[in-house]
């Protein structure tokens, strides 16, 4: 039934948006992480969305009318890392500078609001499809 496909599409949208929200939370939490497991400073992460056919998960992004969404990957921001002059720090280099993460709080906040709005829109679409399916049962 077509409405159940709409459920699946809205569900894929909600899953993708919450993953985006996770990336934002990770970036904010690590805004001051000087050292990560790799030894370097934390770099801001960003998820990349990709349209997929909801039927068979095939790679055709523009199979008309069948487009769900999926997280295609997580990329690290290429923005330059901040440097802070703090000679007393353990992590300071020879010149006394500490390399800090390249997280931009303003950017993260905007991204968070955008993710929230998109999530709500998906939820609304899901609820509309649900009420239509319930209405069909009472014909």
């Amino acid at each position: 039934m077509t409405l159940f496909t709409a459920f699946a599409i809205a569900g894929s949208g909600m899953a993708a948006e919450s993953e985006r929200l996770s990336a934002v939370a990770s970036n904010i939490a690590n805004a001051n992480s000087v050292v990560t497991s790799s030894g370097a400073a934390y770099r801001a992460r960003e998820v990349v969305f990709k349209a997929v056919s909801i039927d068979d998960g095939s790679q055709d992004p523009f199979a008309v009318g069948m487009a769900g969404v999926r997280v295609a990957g997580v990329v690290e921001s290429a923005a330059p890392l901040r440097t802070v002059y703090d000679p007393s720090s353990t992590f300071a280099d020879a010149n006394g500078y500490v390399t800090m993460p390249n997280v931009n709080p303003v950017e993260e906040m905007v991204n968070m609001i955008s993710a929230q709005q998109d999530y709500q829109a998906n939820l609304e679409a899901f609820n509309v499809a649900k009420s239509l399916a319930l209405r069909t049962l009472t014909i």
Partner: protein, 152 residues
């Protein structure tokens, strides 16, 4: 189903299926509101419905589904399949005139929400009409409607 009993019902079946399909298309747009390069699409309902009803012989008998039922006689009942009416996918078109963001996405979230709400109302209306057709048939079969009206 064919025959005099379902007069009018097959048409509403097409309408409901197409409305549900449009809801699916719009939901896909909303899900991809942040996908880079995604271009918003919409179902041209007028074109889809006229394509579906143009060939009257297809009314109520959508394309056979892939499932094969064991029937001994061609007049036996078969699964109708829940495939879309003919020409529905061809009526899905890219939306034009919506603003395109820097990453090449052309989904206007507000417009999509309005279209989805409007489509939902249209679906409810079609479902209501279908209910009325069934009630009408019930009145014709039972005759209860005329008794009620004479009693009132």
């Amino acid at each position: 189903m064919t025959g005099p009993v379902d007069t009018g019902l097959a048409f509403y079946r097409q309408v409901l299926e197409l409305r549900a399909y449009r809801q699916q298309v719009l939901t896909g747009d909303i899900a991809n509101a942040s996908t880079p390069g995604f271009k918003a699409v919409d179902l041209d309902f007028r074109e889809a419905l006229s394509a579906a009803t143009a060939d009257a012989s297809t009314l109520g008998t959508s394309q056979q589904s892939g499932l094969a039922w064991l029937v001994e006689d061609p007049r036996h009942l078969r699964p109708g399949g829940d495939d879309l009416p003919r020409g529905a996918t061809a009526a899905v078109k890219y939306q034009v005139g919506t603003p395109v963001t820097l990453d090449g996405n052309s989904v206007d979230l507000n417009q999509e929400k309005v279209a989805a709400a409007e489509n939902a109302v249209q679906y409810e209306a079609a479902a209501g009409f279908a209910s009325q057709v069934i009630k009408m048939l019930a009145v014709a079969i039972n005759g209860s409607g005329s008794q009620q009206s004479s009693g009132a």
